[in-house]
Amino acid sequence: MLEDIGNHNNNYISNNNKKKTVLLVTGNIQYYQQQFNNYNINKYKITFVNWNDLLSFITNFDDTKRKNLELIILDISTAAKDAKTNQISTSTIGEIKKIFYDTRIFFILPFESMIDNLLSIGICKQEDIRLQPFSVFDIIDLISITKKNERLDRLQLKDHCMYIYSSVDDKVKDAIKFLKIGIENNEMTLLLLSKEIEPSYLLCQIALHDIDISKLQNNGLLKIANTEEYYLSFNQKYNKINTVTVDNKKVHSNFFNLADQVNKREGINGLRIFAMLDCFFEHGLVDELVDYECETPFKFSKPILGICAYNDKHIAQLSEDQIRKLVLTHSSVWI
């Protein structure tokens, strides 16, 4: 009676043999079967394995099956516990990780309070953990993220992004990754630092990633500076008093001129800027910052990629309306 366009569209063949496998290891197969049997996931089938049968299942797991395996989900809430410590048996999980080294493994936990425990063992990352209740939509989402690009890899020239950080370490890590992607893409990178990060510290961290900083700087592919130099104007009045202002037009034209210069150089595709904007807050220029951001295009017309890096403690000082304005003026937002 219903017309199901999915069934006659050649792009979405739902042939059982061609279906990829999602392996769910649990001590409660019946529960999941009852739940999931009511659903159809188009190109995937779920294979349930009991923790107790895992060994024999792995023994019979041939290359064809391995090829078809999309991801593994370990229902930790039903896993066998170590008799002595009453903790999850890490050896079993370690074994699974060794055998399925090229397959993404996710973990289901019963409570949020168990996350830290699992992370402390060091067998997985935060993004690999899901909590109960675990639905078919969670499975679909896990399938989708196995081949999802990471957020910094997804960004393209012309994007104007707002990223909020809760730690200096995360900010530095992202700045370095941002630079690495820039090198791969033949783009010039401008890293604008806040006072809390010493340029020498950042250079040491970059060097740890086997990046030849001198070469990049000599070739004009990397520039590191203080954010204040690019955004703020210090005007001396009455001989002594310094007033700090933001000249939106001047800041924009500086960046656009730099982008034009970069664009003229052969083989360089564009300019990427990672700007830590703490200085606006330190100088009490919050309204000026919001104005500046609102005047900056949602998407740049020139080959510029900009990340405006904020501290979460600064965002907490803003009014709802200011946050709304900031969120709406960026094409990509990560909070």
């Binding site: 017309e3 979405y12 078919v136 993220i145 990560w334």
Partner: protein
């Protein structure tokens, strides 16, 4: 409780009225509440009645003596002006001059120890004189909330409002923080709402926490939206993640009681492989949606359908699982697709995007909600009641909910 008793100060309100008579009656009632209950000065701008006719109405309904009214007018507490003298006093529409008139009256009101100015501006004159474009430009110059103590309804006749194109309406919705029809909250299910026109609607529903299926009351709203489309012989498309559940399409179908007599195959499409759409959207691949757009176009042409209704909840799941940029990218894609099919092929598409409001409560979700609200032309609750993109939606919904519970007791 009537919406006009709940208006926030400094609101810039879009009012649409089914008839000139209704406009005047509702306008005067809105002003009366401001004058009598809110300690506000008032400003009535219209050409529908002469100034004396407005005075008579005020004296009659507000029980003010003629002498008292003279006194109130002299003190600029009651202000009555014609649309001509406010908007067309010179040979060009001078936004700054008009704005100054309003702020001067508001300041005078404060001087007289009033809370502010409550204005009702009848804009019919712009349409009568063929200045539709100018009213949009004029409205665009005011924010959704005034920065001086004035609360104002910009009053449009329904006939005039319907003449405006999609883009103009979008601007109006963006520059007002509350939308009323005949002094009531607008409702997408109202007969006067005219959903056959291109609209990108965001409907918030509240499901039980962690529930993986729709609540019964929400299914009723959904069936109403689709049912009305089918009743009007429109092409209806249902793209829901819940379609992965084997009996869900049947459940929805069983609710569409008005379908029993008509052959639905030609006008109702249920997209079952919605998981494919979701997985690809997360991976930044909108090809399945492009293919769907082609199929919708072909189906509309073959079936000779001009009006199309689409229900989609894929963005809701992208949001729920924190794929915020992908969610926005998909919404932007839909927005462009609606405009393109309308511009190039004359198809009128109303797209209803469903969002579970439980997902909006915490950070970072509540910040990303600004992006969701901003991208839709209309934001409504599961009963179809239209809310401002800028108002505190939750508090309004909670208020209505507690009122209902109070009545039920």
């Amino acid at each position: 409780m009537s919406p006009i008793t709940q208006i926030q100060d400094k609101s810039h309100i879009l009012g649409i009225y089914s008839s000139p008579q209704r406009k005047i009656e509702d306008g005067l009632e809105y002003l009366r509440i401001g004058f009598e209950e809110n300690n506000e000065a008032i400003l009535m701008i219209t050409n529908e009645l002469t100034k004396n006719e407005v005075r008579n109405e005020i004296m009659k309904s507000w029980k003010i003596s003629p002498n008292k009214l003279v006194d109130l007018e002299k003190n600029s507490i009651i202000n009555i002006k014609s649309s001509t003298e406010v908007y067309f006093s010179t040979n060009r529409i001078d936004r700054d001059k008009i704005g100054k008139q309003f702020s001067d009256l508001a300041n005078k009101a404060i001087e007289k120890r009033k809370r502010g100015l409550r204005a009702f501006g009848d804009v019919k004159i712009f349409f009568e004189r063929g200045y539709e474009k100018y009213i949009i430009e004029f409205e665009k110059s005011f924010p959704p909330s005034f920065d001086f103590p004035m609360t104002s309804i910009c009053a449009y006749d329904l006939d005039d409002f319907e003449k405006l194109d999609h883009r103009s309406r979008k601007i109006l919705f963006e520059h007002h923080n509350l939308y009323l029809t005949n002094n009531l909250f607008r409702n997408i299910f109202d007969d006067s709402f005219s959903l056959s026109l291109t609209e990108h609607i965001c409907m918030f529903y509240e499901n039980e926490l962690q529930s993986s299926s729709f609540s019964d009351s929400f299914v009723t709203s959904l069936s109403r939206y689709l049912g009305e489309g089918l009743l009007h012989n429109q092409l209806c498309i249902y793209l829901s993640m819940h379609n992965t559940k084997k009996d869900h399409p049947k459940t929805i179908l069983s609710q569409l009681t008005n379908l029993k007599k008509s052959p639905i195959k030609k006008k109702f499409m249920v997209i079952k492989n919605s998981d494919d759409y979701y997985i690809n959207a997360v991976r930044n691949n909108l090809k399945p949606f492009e293919d769907l757009k082609k199929e919708i176009f072909e189906k509309a042409i073959l079936g000779n359908k001009k009006d199309i209704r689409i229900v989609c909840d894929i963005p809701n799941f992208l949001f729920r699982y924190k794929h915020f940029d992908q969610c926005i990218a998909l919404e932007e894609w839909w927005d462009q697709a609606i405009e393109e099919l309308n511009k190039n092929h004359g198809l009128n598409i109303s797209l209803l995007c469903l969002y579970d409001s439980n997902n909006f409560k915490n950070i970072p979700f509540k910040y990303h909600r600004y992006r969701i609200n901003d991208i839709h032309g209309i934001v409504c609750d599961s009963e179809g009641m239209v809310h401002s993109k800028y108002s505190k939606f939750d508090s309004l919904t909670d208020k209505r909910k507690s009122e209902k519970e109070g009545k039920g007791r």
